[in-house]
């Protein structure tokens, strides 16, 4: 068993970074995730040779990530919503250049400069591209402090396996709350640079060149085909999700991250009232577990999707269900968090009282 600690989500994420053998962190502080760079500045020098650098801005940080990832280093940055928006150009370049890196977005309420309170309003930006061009990030959605730790390890592995940027999409509450965590042991990594890394020309080999500029459309289309083939493979192999109380379920609640945690409590309350409620929690938001919903839909009277936004994952749930059952939505916006009681009230209004009180 690994070391057990009581940690904040942001600190646990930072500690996991050190333990995963991350070579460099570049970032710029922003609430509610400033503890990441604070923790790394304090702890990383004691435990590793990791570079921890506060960049001049989020644009600086993401382009440092681009450069260091290109040298075959294991690198990560973190930010919150407005900062992640500033990084979108860089992420598009990194995806096009097929470089591995890990990015965490500790989502806060928007749009604009918004609020520092937790939100899930960056779902679309995270899973549908965010920057320009046809690309995807692999997106992991932790719902506990433990998963903030575990997903750093899994995130680096996925990024390097597919040479693709991976995002951990959490929110201010997961970042700020403390829970018991089991930390994995320090990982010894092979420090040899991969073949594609720009670390000087190897004897007898061609020059290594990293770019996202392919001025001839024929070549650009080839690159796009390679990316799309990679995404199809990711969609086939890397879908992760959790199901609870599915066996006898007549209705489903669904949500991700903190939303799913609150739904779990709502499900407990609902079951006490005699409603047969199950729960689906997507763990990878891209690739999205479409099949799981699709296969369950015909057996289910209705699904209530709960998010801390105006209904973003809702579009994917509806695509997945493909009209085979009713999908309703309950959400709070702008940094407000739904309570389990609100969710059950919405559930009853939609599915028990036939929408009369909605």
């Amino acid at each position: 068993m690994g070391e057990i600690r009581l940690m904040k989500g942001n600190e646990a994420l930072a500690e996991a970074m050190i333990r995963a053998g991350c070579d460099a962190y570049f970032g710029y502080p922003i609430t509610p995730q400033s503890e990441v760079i604070e923790y790394l500045s304090r702890e990383a020098p004691k435990k590793s040779k990791m570079v921890v650098l506060q960049a001049e801005s989020e644009l600086g940080a993401i382009n440092m990530i681009y450069g260091a990832a290109g040298c075959g280093k294991r690198v990560m940055t973190t930010s919150s919503s407005p900062g992640i928006s500033l990084m979108q150009e860089g992420l598009s370049y990194i995806a096009s250049a097929q470089l591995p890196c890990l990015v965490a977005n500790i989502n806060r309420g928007g749009p604009g400069l918004g609020t520092i309170q937790p939100s899930q309003s960056d779902y679309m930006q995270a899973v549908k591209g965010g920057g320009h061009g046809d690309y995807h990030l692999i997106v992991l959605a932790p719902y506990s402090v433990q998963e903030m730790v575990d997903f750093v390890k899994i995130g680096f592995e996925l990024a390097e396996k597919y040479r693709n940027p991976v995002m951990i999409l959490a929110d201010g509450a997961i970042g700020q709350m403390m829970e018991k965590v089991e930390l994995f042991d320090f990982i010894e990594r092979n420090q040899e640079a991969p073949e594609w890394a720009t670390v000087g020309r190897r004897p007898g080999k061609d020059r290594v060149f990293i770019t996202s500029l392919f001025i001839q459309p024929e070549k650009m289309e080839e690159v796009n085909k390679i990316l799309q083939a990679k995404y199809r493979e990711v969609e086939k192999k890397e879908v992760r999700y959790q199901q609870l109380n599915i066996e006898d379920a007549e209705y489903l609640l669904t949500g991700y991250g903190l939303g799913a945690r609150i739904c779990m409590k709502a499900m407990e309350i609902g079951r006490e009232k005699g409603y047969k409620i199950g729960l689906i929690r997507p763990i990878t938001l891209y690739p999205f577990p479409y099949n799981v919903y699709n296969e369950l839909a015909p057996k289910i009277k209705g699904i209530l999707d709960v998010e801390m936004n105006a209904g973003q994952m809702l579009e994917d749930v509806k695509l997945a269900v493909d009209g085979k059952t009713t999908v309703k939505f309950y959400g709070r916006m702008g940094g407000m968090i739904p309570t389990p009681e609100e969710i059950i009230e919405s559930f009853e209004n939609h599915f028990i009282y036939g929408g009369k009180n909605v």
């Binding site: 009581l6 700020q176 709350m177 403390m178 968090i337």
Partner: protein, 181 residues
């Protein structure tokens, strides 16, 4: 066993630390714990609070709206959280500080003269430890010794000289609660 508590008061009264100490002690005793702070503009001069959940099994939502125990160190916290005590559950408040006490008939109300006790120890900052002692005595969820030992692990070493004073405050709080129940 499941305890859903909220610690609330002014920023600076140490309410976040109270919840954290309890969570840490409960974790040491093998429980599942979750601590969720209010953060943001309300912390500066306004009210601060933290939800602390302790359970034998995995904890679902960290966000809850009714509580088994409300701990209130200032007037606004009584006003805000008294209505959120579950029927039959309890509220502990600092009766030195709070002029308008809780009024509900369907809950248990425990006035603890915490600030007065802290002033006797010549340090108002240990108010939180007095109240935490009272809480620990009342609920019996964690062993008092585990809480005191937790201080050695949570506090940076430069503050360890203050632990005896904190221990004294904690025990004073336990005594005050013992007299009430």
């Amino acid at each position: 066993m499941k305890e859903e508590a909220i610690f609330s008061g002014f920023g600076g009264q140490g309410v976040l630390s109270m919840g954290q100490m309890l969570a840490y002690a409960a974790m040491k005793e093998g429980k599942e714990v979750c601590w969720f702070p209010s953060y943001g503009p309300e912390m500066r001069g306004g009210t601060a609070n933290c939800i602390t959940i302790i359970s034998d099994s995995l904890i679902s939502s960290p966000i809850i709206s009714t509580f088994d125990t409300v701990i209130a160190l200032n007037q606004p916290s009584v006003e805000k959280f008294e209505p959120k005590v579950k029927p039959g559950a309890c509220i502990i408040y600092d009766s030195t500080n709070i002029i308008e006490p809780p009024k509900r008939k369907d809950i248990k109300i425990y006035p603890i003269a915490g600030s007065e006790a802290a002033l006797k120890l010549k340090n108002l900052k240990v108010l939180n430890m007095v109240i935490l002692g009272a809480y620990t005595q009342l609920k019996g969820i964690v062993n008092p010794e585990t809480v005191i030992n937790a201080l050695y692990e949570i506090l940076p070493e430069r503050h360890h000289r203050l632990i005896p004073l904190n221990k004294e405050a904690f025990e004073l709080g336990m005594d005050l609660m013992m007299k009430l129940v």
